[in-house]
Homo-oligomer: 96 residues x 2
């Protein structure tokens, strides 16, 4: 009846991050920080986990002399997100 929910995505902050990345080509650390209002440390860790899972690409460069971490979603990440949403539907619309 209830599919397992991908534990990588079933975390508020990681879901927020992926949710943002679904809508944009690329986002940097600061944008994620501003948008999610989460603490930088937390974001740093959750980005690592998403990268380890292969859900996002992380490119660290320098921009205007400052470190800049550019993040984008991978195909795997996009698919995982779609799967997660499908599974969730079964929870939130159990009448189906």
């Amino acid at each position: 009846m209830f599919n397992d929910l991908d534990p990588i995505l079933h975390s508020q902050l990681r879901l927020s991050i992926v949710s943002i990345l679904i809508t944009v080509e690329e986002a940097n650390f600061s944008f994620i920080k501003d948008t999610t209002k989460a603490a930088a440390g937390n974001i740093s860790i959750q980005i690592n986990k998403l990268q380890e899972a292969g859900y996002i690409n992380v490119e660290k460069t320098f921009k205007n002399n400052y470190p800049n971490t550019a993040i984008s979603i991978t195909n795997k990440g996009r698919e995982a997100f779609e799967e997660y949403v499908k599974s969730l539907q079964k929870y939130i619309y159990p009448q189906k």
Copy 2:
């Protein structure tokens, strides 16, 4: 942009339980156990948390000589679920 997701509901097992209770008048422990496939101990704990939060009613009686735990959703629980779903929509359909 992203509402906080009610941490009481943002747990796979608790969400499963509430999701079941949304569709039925009442469910007992065994039904929840069979439907969710979760371990009894885990269910026991999550039922306590949902009760503490006022999201469910728990009635312990004996049925055919056996202990029987009947569970039903409260108005508060139903509202929390609806709110949770609304918040989730913003995550899973960020284009909106």
